[in-house]
Amino acid sequence: MFSRYARRKYTDVVVRAACVAAAVLALVPLVSVLYYVTSRGIGGISLAFFSELPKPVGESGGGMANAIVGSCKLVFLACLFGVPPGVLAGVYLAEFGHSRFGKWVRFSADVMSGLPSITVGIFVYSLVVLQTKHFSAFAGGVALGVLMLPTVTRTTEELLRLVPESLREAALGLGIPKWRATLRVMLRTAAPGIATGVMLAVARVAGESAPLLFTAFSNPFWSSGVNEPTASLPVNIYNYAVSPYEEWHRQAWAAALVLLVLVLLLNVSARLLVRSRVGTR
């Protein structure tokens, strides 16, 4: 009797220790990436990094102002192309998605969310770049937008399903047409959650380099409008990191740090947004 109890105690301790160890192990990559990128990148951060264009090889100094602006531009375009169709598709799935077609849409959204981002890059390359015959921020935005689409669609669907059915009934019971009940009551109620989903999707695509290689390409100068090749932080990190120049390596680390901080900020603020919503209920 006693020995069985002792063995249970022993098992409990062992399993618990294993769980704690696994949790620590999972934290190791995150913490070490944060630490390593910060320690290597902090040296390259200066006011010039945020305000100046890249200098030619051989000259020291210079910055990545164009890439920071370019990344913002690309993310903005991605939202423009990815969010409206994503949200509307999510509404379709939540409201009318019981059909065979709905199942098919849901399935392809799930498949799409696992699509390698480089594939999307090639797809948009043939779809946009080959047609317009030049790289552009527009093409880059389309590529990132396509990547956002499945996340936004599924998040919207899931969150609309979380809105209590009683609210829909309340709206319909007031003689409000279904389309307006969906937009003004259901979507409105789910809006904070959908915004969070969009921000998480943005955080994901902001760090993508592969789909931009053949679409937005890169640009050592300012790009005007959306029809020119555009620099972005992830692509710059890649280009600078594979270069043979020490100065460029330093800049790549700094860019990595800036990108990391941007993505972390997006993630944290998305989560805070959710928490503040839950708190007021």
Partner: protein, 285 residues
């Protein structure tokens, strides 16, 4: 907390029933044979998929009276009221056949717009369901606004409706706060105000008090007493005392059929059907 005098409560075991002066004066004016129907269902059948939950209901709904629908769980009473404003068909796979007349017009006829029917026949649900993204004020106006109407003086509408449901004094200083922050009973009165803002002719109440405590229930019942001067009310309840307290007419449903419909005092004191008597005396259900 007293709601109505004890003489109004059912004393079903006594066949003589409550024929005290008090209750007589209350009932004299109306009877089933002379009632003026605001609505009337004829051979109404409702289905969920293959299952028939209403098996041919023919029932008149008296104008500016309260009609209670009672019966054991699953007897189809909720489905019945949801058929009266075409909310039944909102559920996937649900449909209804038969006729439901509103002022002599069949609301199930092909060219009738369900949305318009629901504006004339308002509904209050079992669980209070104010819109969580809207303030108290906006909740009252929600029906008008989401129907694309802009009242000339929205503040006056808000005050009038909240006065009508006796909620004004409690919320007049917090109109900007979320409707979901109120107590359950206040929320339910807010939902009633939201329905009344559309000036419906009929108000359907699907167990409006079953999520409320006794005090809040009493407030809502008092409100029903006031509202029946202006509106035709149909209330579903599983609480027979409540039916006895608020309703002029009572319909007893059992297994999707209308067993008996009569003046409330008749139903509770000298029902014609054995099954009605069994139910109200608590022998089943």
């Amino acid at each position: 907390m007293t709601i109505g005098s004890p003489s109004r409560l059912a004393r079903p075991t006594s066949r003589k029933g409550s024929t005290s002066d008090d209750s007589r004066s209350r009932w004299d004016e109306v009877s089933v044979s002379t009632l003026v129907p605001k609505m009337r269902t004829e051979e109404l059948r409702a289905y969920f998929g293959q299952a028939e939950v209403l098996k041919g209901i023919s029932l008149p709904i008296a104008e500016k009276q309260v009609t209670a629908v009672i019966g054991p769980s699953g007897c189809g009473k909720s489905t019945f009221v949801r058929c009266l404003n075409r909310m039944h068909e909102v559920v996937p796979g649900a449909r209804a056949v038969g006729r439901v007349l509103l002022d002599k017009q069949d609301i199930y006829q092909g060219d009738v717009d369900a949305v318009r029917v629901r504006r004339r026949v308002g509904m209050v649900f079992q669980k209070p369901n104010p819109f969580p993204t809207m303030s108290i004020r906006d909740n009252v106006l929600a029906g008008l606004r989401l129907n694309g109407e802009r009242p000339d003086d929205p503040d006056a509408v808000v005050e009038k409706m909240l006065q009508r449901v006796a909620l004004w004094d409690e919320v007049k200083d917090i109109l900007g706060r979320a409707g979901t922050g109120l107590s359950g009973g206040q929320q339910q009165r807010l939902c009633i105000a939201r329905s009344l803002a559309l000036e419906p002719e009929v108000l359907l109440m699907d167990e409006p008090c079953s999520a409320l405590d006794p005090i809040a229930t009493a407030r809502v019942e008092e409100l029903i007493h006031d509202l029946r001067k202006t509106y035709t009310i149909v209330i579903v309840t599983h609480n027979m005392q409540q039916a006895a307290r608020v309703a002029n007419f009572t319909a007893f449903f059992y297994l999707g059929k209308l067993i008996e419909h009569d003046r409330t005092d008749v139903i509770f004191t000298r029902p014609k059907e054995q099954r009605t008597e069994d139910y109200i005396t608590g022998r089943f259900g």
